[in-house]
Amino acid sequence: MFSEMFMKLWENGLIQMGIWETIYMTVLSTAISYCIGLPLGVVLQITDREGICPLPVFNRILGLIVNFFRSIPFIILMVAMLPVAKWIVGVSLGNRAMIVMLVIASSPYIARMVESSLKEVDAGVIEAAQSMGTDNYQIVRKVLLPEAKPSLINGAVISMVTILGYSAMAATIGGTGLGQIAISYGHQRFNPDVTWCCVFLTVIIVHIIQEVGSRIAQKTDKRYRA
């Protein structure tokens, strides 16, 4: 039923390893991207004209930089950023380099996700906090982020799935994981069952991320309890 190639890959543990590498790259890249994207998103939100610390010119410039990175297709960005990866982690091949690419590509994306989650927080609640003598730092820490938590978690789920997709593309220039198995063993060596197996596994991983994430978001949200 399965091709010889598939059996060989399975017996040698390459597919299992691919699953692990995909998860590892996705989770690690998401985590690092959030370290950059979350503060960036907060800054974008609060320096907005309607934000708590309006700095329109600064906000425009930051927005332009974010949009610049967001508008480059990932596959092109990857190639363009190879020297940057080499400069940061010393190599331009393999998973470490790929994580750098993924972080560069997804941080601006996450910044926008965070920004839009924070925009959902009712302006009245922020005003109430200001009326109590809350300073801007406290508003971010104690009002904006906690109030936007369910939405931020939903955003993180979407970002993670996007990054998982990117990580598969990274296989084209030397990344590993399910994407690489699908391309080099499935596509290039004509074993459609290997490709489909990778598709199937990816679907399962995405589904698990989505399910678990949504559930956490729902559990955190205290707004619609009867």
Binding site: V125, E127, M132, G133, K142, P146
Partner: protein
């Protein structure tokens, strides 16, 4: 004492200038309940936000206890805000926090120790009658309960003043009455000076000592509630007060009384009065 001196606020948007407030002179004495009434768009909300500088006035001064707060440092302003509580039409509670945490929040911000904050919050929840809901979330409460939590929160830092921005406008008449009773009690027992912004005459009538009538960015009338109600001078005050006032006088009179009713000149107003009369337990005998 809160003093507003020749206060003005102008918004500048896309080459257009909109005047929200102009030449506001107002003195609110300690211990009183002061009403500011006006139709929507009169500038009431802007006015109350100028008192704690949520909105910066473009001219004039806001003097609180002798200090001009428009010229203090940012840090001092945050301190001053802690001495002025505020409640809103939309309650504006932290939806993701429990009732208890909503009330401890301003204390946490002010740097109070957690244990003291919880003690103070429970004390306040007791006063507003919601101690048993301390661990509930705002979404589990009714509008009136939410406003009670908001009042407890606003009082947490023991402010001297409480600003109410249309605080009862989203509530039904019974709930409105109970919230107003609570505010009056707070004024009496804790000596908190209360400023109430509203478009509802009955709110002013029920608890305010003095009232200012705001119309088209200006204060057109000001004085003791009993005096303004008995003899409104400005057109807008007459419009706001008179029809309701006259009919009320009759409804209260126990015996048979003869009242000559002067119909308002405007047709829509006259229609309002007629409609009200039809619904009221008054016998009508038309005369010439």
């Amino acid at each position: 004492m809160i003093e507003l001196k020749s206060l003005g606020k102008t918004y500048r948007t896309a080459g257009e200038e909109i005047t929200a407030l102009e030449g506001i002179e107002l003195t609110i004495h300690d211990g009183e309940i002061y009403g500011i009434i006006g139709l929507s768009g009169a500038g009431k909300s802007t006015l109350v936000r100028c008192i704690n500088l949520l909105e910066r006035p473009t001219s004039g001064r806001v003097v609180i206890d002798g200090q001009d707060i428009t010229s203090v440092s940012r840090k001092r302003l945050l301190e001053i805000r802690r001495s002025i509580g505020m409640i809103f039409q939309g309650f504006h509670l932290l939806e993701q926090s429990t009732v208890l945490h909503n009330v401890t929040f301003p204390l946490e911000v002010a740097g109070t120790r957690r244990r003291d904050a919880v003690g103070r919050a429970m004390e306040l929840l007791e006063i507003v009658g919601l101690a048993d809901r301390a661990n509930a979330y705002p979404s589990q409460l009714s509008g009136g309960q939410k406003q009670r939590v908001a009042i407890a929160r606003a009082l947490a830092t023991r402010p001297k003043y409480l600003l109410c921005d249309e605080a009862t406008s989203a509530l039904d008449p019974n709930t409105t009455r109970s919230i107003l009773d609570l505010l009056a009690e707070i004024n009496r027992k804790m000596g908190v000076t209360i400023v109430i912004i509203t478009h509802e005459m009955k709110v002013v009538e029920q608890i305010c000592d003095r009232v200012a009538v705001l119309d088209q960015s200006r204060i057109v009338e000001e004085g003791k509630v009993s005096e303004v109600f008995a003899d409104p001078k400005s057109a807008i005050a007459k419009e706001l007060i008179l029809p309701e006032r006259r009919l009320r006088a009759k409804a209260h009179g126990g015996q048979r009384v003869r009242i000559l009713l002067e119909m308002p000149a405007s047709e829509s107003e006259a229609e309002k009065v007629t409609r009200w009369l039809k619904d009221s337990p008054v016998e009508l005998q038309e005369e010439g």
